[in-house]
């Protein structure tokens, strides 16, 4: 996956240079305050078609706040979000879903007493065929179990039964459920907030594979992660978040992991980097 310096975002699905195709998602000057705490302080963001954009930053830098704003889970106090160039104002996650944006939240929004299959299909249950069934919204339990098994198989978690309540799963298995859900249903953008944090080595790699598959389908992915090897393995560009705002966008094909960490922690100023390390 080596790429020429001047062309950031060079993986198969990702298209062209800045300007040629509109940005899939863009945010300008987002601000979110919680009492005295400023979670976002004029944060910018951009996502190009078909790219994997990693978002990294210290704990409490405001990464989760940023993606919550992008997915409609919180409403920013100031700033503007654009989707394919048009300004949007998500008032709830419903709005974002309707636009085909799927999100894995850091605190894994699952219903613990419900089964894996039910959680996977929450809000878009598979209905039985036939007009009566459609009208009554009769769910097709069997099909849902089968489909769930299929989706989860890709991730190779050792889960016995899809009709197990999620609260009986181990931490990592639970994360697997959330990841599988977003990958299965995204139509436009996939956002993942630390999807591999609780995962084992094998399972983590599976999720990275999954992310690449999604990208290869042509969907751009926003990946928040603290795991630098993971980030460098899949990211096309790296958005560094610092103290509530974007500090820089780096090019992982050029910059080293150590330098990236330095930018992230503030030891290195983005201005001091060589221009090719910055991704346009």
């Amino acid at each position: 996956m080596s790429a020429p310096f001047s062309s950031p975002g060079s993986s198969p699905g990702s298209a062209a240079a800045p300007g040629s195709r509109p940005l899939v998602m863009e945010a300008r000057g987002l601000v979110k305050r919680y009492g005295q705490v400023v979670a976002m302080n004029g944060a910018d963001f951009e996502l190009r078609p078909g790219e994997i954009m990693a978002v990294i930053g210290d704990n409490g830098a405001g990464k989760s706040s940023l993606i919550k704003a992008l997915s409609g889970a919180v409403t920013p106090d100031e700033g503007q979000i654009f989707l394919e160039g048009r300004p949007v104002a998500f008032r709830s996650p419903i709005d974002a879903r309707r636009e085909g944006i799927e999100t894995v939240y850091q605190d894994l929004a699952v219903a613990p007493a419900m089964t894996i299959a039910e959680n996977l299909f929450l809000g878009r249950e598979i209905l039985r065929p036939g007009p009566v069934a459609k009208l009554l919204k009769l769910i097709d339990r069997k099909k849902m179990l089968e489909e769930a098994t299929r989706h989860m198989q890709g991730l190779q978690f050792a889960i016995k039964s899809m009709s197990q309540p999620v609260e009986t799963l181990s931490g990592g298995q639970r994360q697997g459920v959330a990841v599988a859900r977003s990958a299965a249903f995204a139509r436009h953008v996939v956002i993942m907030d630390e999807p591999t944090a609780a995962l084992g080595v094998r399972e983590g790699n599976m999720v990275l594979d999954l992310i690449r598959q999604v990208r290869d389908k042509g969907l751009p992915v926003i990946l928040i992660s603290h795991n630098m090897p993971h980030v460098f393995e899949v990211a096309d560009r790296i958005h560094v978040h610092r103290m509530g705002r974007r500090a820089a966008i780096l090019n992982p094909k050029v910059i080293s992991m150590a330098d990236t960490v330095s930018v992230m922690t503030g030891a290195l100023r983005p201005e001091d980097l060589s221009p090719d390390m910055l991704a346009g």
């Binding site: 996650p93 605190d107 699952v110 769910i139």
Partner: protein, 326 residues
């Protein structure tokens, strides 16, 4: 009962809760066996039919209450809504001379409307269900009194006769009301378990934030639950009319506690998201069995209170122990 804005109770447990109705069922059977040894009149189809009849309108209310409690809400106004609906049906059919069918529809509409109002206050203003339905209790209480001018409306003998009909089974007469209650329990159970909105109700009580984030409209769902519960209270009004043969302005004052009791005995958690509507049926029957059995034993009514208190605790304890075993 929290504001929907404060989010997901991500409950976890090491001891898996068992959602089956097995526990309450065991308690019910134990109670029946006990009373059968105490009175030879107890184990008759007649008694059974009576208990079913007596449970009918509280049972139907408890269906609505179960739905609401599953969403982590509570409804204190349920009995009063029933009283209002029954008064509307009675007044329209008897005093205004409306066709019975129309009067009933109007009663249902009133029930659904008040339920919808509850839901509106809860979802729009984000008020705790406890307060909204407590306030609604007082409001509807006054409305019933003003509307009825504190007078009960007796059914004319030929008014709602179709309701009063019974059918024979094994030589015992069962009321259509009991049948309707059983049917509604079954339908609600199917709805909760086999339709998408049914599952969403569980999820909503389980983790409202997860439901919100998964793109379901929490408010719309909640609103529909409260409205539907109101409709069920309208149906309960019909059964009340059938049972006591008239609309009474004094009705509806104790059904809130009675229905919540049935729900909790049936194993549904007051914190929402966990439970089974068939358990509620068993809970309602357990209360009926206690009342009927203790009367048959000829116990003084004060001692009936005493024993009922003990038995309710024991019934739920049986449930607990049977869960821990399994």
């Amino acid at each position: 009962m929290t504001q929907p804005s404060t989010a997901p109770p991500a409950k976890r447990s090491f001891h898996l809760p068992n959602f089956s109705t097995l526990g309450p069922l065991i308690a019910l059977l134990v109670a029946c066996i006990f009373f059968a040894t105490q009175s030879d009149r107890f184990l008759t189809l007649n008694t059974f039919s009576l208990i079913l009849q007596q449970a009918s309108f509280v049972g139907v209310i408890a269906i609505g209450q179960t739905l609401i409690i599953l969403t982590a809400g509570i409804d204190l106004s349920c009995g009063m809504i029933m009283a209002l609906s029954s008064m509307v049906i009675g007044k329209l059919a008897v005093e205004q001379g409306l066709p019975v069918g129309l009067a009933i529809l109007a009663g249902f509409a009133v029930g659904a409307f008040v339920g919808w109002l509850n839901g509106l206050l809860i979802t729009r203003w984000k008020l705790p269900p406890f307060i909204v339905t407590l306030g609604m209790y007082s409001i509807v209480f006054a409305a019933v009194r003003i509307y009825s001018r504190a007078t009960s409306v007796p059914m004319p003998p030929d008014g709602l006769t179709f309701l009063a009909q019974r059918f024979e089974l094994f030589g015992t007469r069962f009321s259509y009301g009991s049948l309707l209650m059983l049917l509604l329990f079954l339908l609600t159970w199917l709805y909760l378990n086999y339709t998408a909105p049914g599952r969403h109700i569980y999820a909503l009580g389980n983790n409202p934030e997860a439901v919100r984030l998964s793109g379901i409209n929490n408010n719309r769902l909640l609103l529909s639950v409260y409205t539907f519960a109101g409709l069920l209270y309208g149906v309960a009004a019909l059964l009340l009319l059938e049972r006591i043969g008239g609309a009474s302005p004094e009705a509806g004052q104790t059904e809130n506690l009675e229905s919540i009791t049935a729900v909790v005995i049936g194993g549904t958690s007051l914190f929402g998201g966990r439970g089974n509507v068939l358990g509620t049926l068993i809970g309602a029957l357990i209360v009926g069995v206690f009342r009927s059995g203790l009367t048959l034993m000829g116990l003084d009514s004060v001692y009936q209170n005493l024993i009922t208190g003990i038995l309710i605790i024991l019934a739920v304890a049986t449930d607990q122990f049977s869960r821990r075993r399994s």
